[in-house]
């Protein structure tokens, strides 16, 4: 079962993504801050991270840089409601896998995550 870590300070987004990806056969962990996300990553196997940029404390780009340093094989996908050239360039430099703007199409998001976790699609088919 592919494992996804959702990091967003908005409860509604966390719930939406939890319900959807849980229904697709993914194992979901959620965090409302970068600090909690780091704790989760240190305690369990995560195949891909989906994070908002603007959060209290550590932002999503800082979290992406931390993931790249400590878990270089784990893809990080940025989701933001406030896209800008500056954050997108920072995303390239933080070596994120993708940068998605809100509002997003959840099926498109699923395809993006599946493309970056090769065994995820098979897991979805075997539900």
């Amino acid at each position: 079962m592919p494992s996804l870590l959702v990091v967003d300070d908005e409860l509604l987004i966390r719930d939406l993504l939890y319900d959807f990806f849980n229904g697709q056969g993914w194992s979901i962990s959620v965090a409302d801050s970068g600090d909690k996300a780091m704790s989760i990553m240190e305690s369990k196997q995560i195949d891909i991270v989906l994070t908002d940029i603007k959060m209290p404390g550590m932002d999503g780009l800082e979290l992406a840089a931390w993931v790249r340093e400590h878990y270089p094989a784990t893809p990080v996908v940025i989701v933001t409601g406030y896209p800008s050239v500056e954050t997108a360039v920072s995303a390239i430099r933080s070596k994120v896998t993708d940068y998605i703007t809100k509002p997003f199409n959840i099926n498109q998001l699923l395809k993006t995550l599946e493309a970056n976790v090769p065994f995820a699609k098979e897991a979805g088919k075997s539900r």
Binding site: V85, Y99, T101, P118
Partner: protein
């Protein structure tokens, strides 16, 4: 560092900018080829090997993104850097998805450019090392790294990551 790491293709239609960037890169020790159009860039890319490709976004015969697309598809080990005077979020996202390692906004700082190009050359060498490692395929058809860890499948970006070297060492 590999022989191709310091071979660079610069694609820029503004003659003055191109001349200055070529001179600057040559001073950094790069072996530079330059051109001004998408068509000539694709021709150079098809006939010669480069470690770093620096492309302007707006070119007389099309968008520099076309060069990135071709390089990304056929030469994934090449470090790609886009430069532009008219940045947009959409363009940066597209560059990210094509595996570009940086997006430089004009006018740029030469010190910043030096750091980006040196990183680009290192990444090319690292990417070649990873490519060689991934060529070691086990009898079940699953690729594995030199130290025996199984490859779970990687994107172009990860493929090009220097941190993701075959021995796990940082570059």
């Amino acid at each position: 560092m590999t022989q191709t790491a310091r071979r660079m293709l610069i694609v820029e239609d503004d003659g003055l900018v191109r001349e200055n960037v070529v001179l600057f890169c040559e001073r950094l020790g790069f072996d530079v080829t330059s051109c001004a159009t998408v068509a000539s860039a694709l021709q150079y890319a098809a006939t010669d090997k480069y470690g770093v490709v620096l492309v302007d976004c707006l070119l007389p015969d099309g968008n520099g993104m076309k060069v990135l697309e071709e390089m990304s598809q056929y030469h994934p080990e090449v470090s790609l850097v886009m430069m532009t005077g008219s940045p947009s979020v959409e363009a940066v996202i597209k560059c990210l998805r094509l595996g570009a390692i940086d997006y430089v906004i004009k006018p740029f700082n030469l010190f910043e450019m030096k750091s980006i190009l040196e990183r680009a050359a290192q990444k090319h060498t690292a990417a070649l090392n990873v490519r060689d490692a991934l060529r070691l395929v086990n009898k079940d058809g699953q690729s594995e790294t030199r130290n025996g860890e199984q490859n779970r499948g990687y994107s172009r970006r990860q493929f090009a990551e220097p941190e993701f070297g075959p021995s796990g060492e940082k570059y």
